[in-house]
């Protein structure tokens, strides 16, 4: 049991797991979705599912911003990079995401200049240093990252840097959760709420999940104990017949989020009528675009984009994985045709993607899970009951 030694508080984890088990009603299955790629990473890295009773399943949601980018947007970015005098910049995770015409790395091999940056401000710096080039930052990420992009646009405007623009692909978490709640494919009992997204949006936007859908949500930190503690809080709510929003990560997440960050997003960006998510399809009001007042910094207005919708490869089941309908290892090409070295789908690209996380850390628990799913009639005995 190699994973048990991997974190300091394994004894506390086992104690929490026993408390969770004690709350399980006999014969009932519990499914909780974590909507943050960082949580997925922790769950696989520390084999947290192995601590939990067999009847408690963690399902991975669409919380990895790289994973939900549809192929068409990758192709649009490559189209921008192919225009004269363009330097396209983006986060490292995007470089290997396959589009319909290959990845950014493939595109660079064919002559484009696509660079990875740590911060949108690095991209702005490249624009300052290369006044004869058009520098475009491909912005991706949830509300965690959108304020940084917005601040960078404000800075560019203040400095009047005319050769800088952003290709805005920021997405918003709430509509994605709503789409999952409305999907007939999946019955969930509650949510492990995202940590860093919530530092920006706070806990209030999740209210509707508890109120309208009757599901509890607990905003969670990233450490193994945070996640187990959140599962415990969810189980307590269910056992008491409650559905509320709770904040397990209050040491970082303020209940009202970061009002300044929200204001900056609102100043520079507005909701799109709809946006295509890989796997989830078109979701209304689920992404941000640059406001007309900042059109001079909007790559979608500067460049004529093909905007073609590109279907995912037939073999790829990222869509089902992103919706939590399939576990990574249930995908037909997982670990064979699709690996982190040669990814077919986005979930295998980012370290926060469920497939990459599972591929890197999860192998040791796969056999156990396979056994568990093949013998599904008899509920496994659970400690502490």
């Amino acid at each position: 049991m190699r994973f048990v030694d991997e974190f300091r508080d394994a004894a506390k984890a086992r104690a929490l797991a026993a408390q969770i088990a004690a709350l399980c009603e006999p014969g009932r299955q519990y499914k909780f979705m974590e909507v943050c790629g960082g949580h997925t990473h922790t769950i696989y890295k520390h084999g947290l599912e192995d601590y939990l009773p067999e009847t408690v399943t963690l399902v991975h949601g669409p919380g990895c911003p790289v994973c939900v980018m549809p192929m068409g947007r990758v192709d649009d970015a490559i189209h921008i990079a192919e225009q004269p005098d363009v330097i396209l910049t983006t986060f490292g995770d995007m470089m290997r995401v396959p589009g319909g015409r290959g990845s950014f790395l493939d595109s660079n091999a064919a002559g484009t200049d696509i660079r990875m940056v740590y911060s949108p401000l690095d991209s702005l710096k490249i624009a300052r240093q290369n006044p004869d080039k058009r520098v475009v930052f491909m912005a991706i990420g949830f509300e965690t990252t959108a304020p940084s992009t917005a601040m960078t646009v404000l800075r560019a405007a203040a400095e009047k840097i005319e050769n800088f623009s952003i290709f805005c692909n920021h997405v918003t978490i709430i509509p994605a959760i709503k789409a999952i709640l409305n999907s007939p494919d999946l019955r969930l009992d509650g949510f492990i709420g995202p940590g860093h997204v919530s530092t920006v949006i706070g806990c209030r936007p999740y209210d509707f999940i508890a109120r309208e859908y009757g599901k509890p949500l607990v905003c969670a930190g990233f450490e193994p104990l945070d996640i187990l503690q959140s599962v415990y809080q969810l189980m307590i709510q269910l056992s008491e017949g409650r559905s509320e929003v709770e904040n397990q990560y209050s040491r970082v997440v303020p209940w009202d989020g970061n009002p300044r960050a929200l204001k900056v997003i609102g100043e520079v960006m507005e909701l799109r009528p709809y946006f295509e998510w890989r796997g989830l399809g078109f979701i209304s009001h689920s992404a941000l675009k640059v406001r007309d007042a900042y059109a001079a910094f909007d790559a979608e207005k500067i460049f004529d984009l093909p905007g073609v919708r590109v279907a995912d490869p037939k073999a790829c089941q990222c869509g089902e994985v992103l919706k939590g309908v399939l576990k990574p290892w249930e995908c037909k090409v997982f670990g064979t045709a699709c690996t982190p070295e040669t990814p077919i789908g986005t979930c295998m690209v980012s370290s926060e993607g469920a497939c990459a996380a599972y591929y890197n850390f999860g192998r040791f628990s796969r056999d156990r899970v396979r056994e568990a799913t093949s013998i599904e009639i008899t509920p496994a005995p659970v400690a502490g009951r």
């Binding site: 990473h41 990895c64 740590y118 911060s119 965690t144 990252t145 940084s148």
Partner: protein
């Protein structure tokens, strides 16, 4: 890319009050603090850094615990740290 890395504010730049020199695992880098209230941040404060911006203020205990956790996750953290160290924002 969704990682938040803790750092300790060393000083606020005099000519650019939206930037702070921040000690991140022993290395000093400029970090944008424009998303926080100006009165809220000063030398000795700990912040959570995401793509070059301070996203929230945290206490020292949380910062130490978060760092320890990040160091334990391996490759993803090393890549993020390297990217941060290669970055020179202005």
């Amino acid at each position: 890319m969704c990682l938040g890395i803790p750092g300790e504010v060393v000083e606020i730049l005099v000519d650019r009050t939206d930037l702070a020199m921040v000690d991140v695992s022993g290395v000093k880098r400029a970090i944008n603090i424009g998303l926080l209230d100006k009165d809220e941040v000063g030398p000795g404060d700990w912040i959570l850094i995401h793509v070059g911006f301070a996203l929230s203020k945290i206490d020292e205990e949380e910062a130490k615990a978060a760092l320890e956790f990040l160091e334990g996750i391996g490759e993803a953290y090393e890549e993020e740290m390297q990217a941060l160290l290669d970055s020179r924002i202005e």
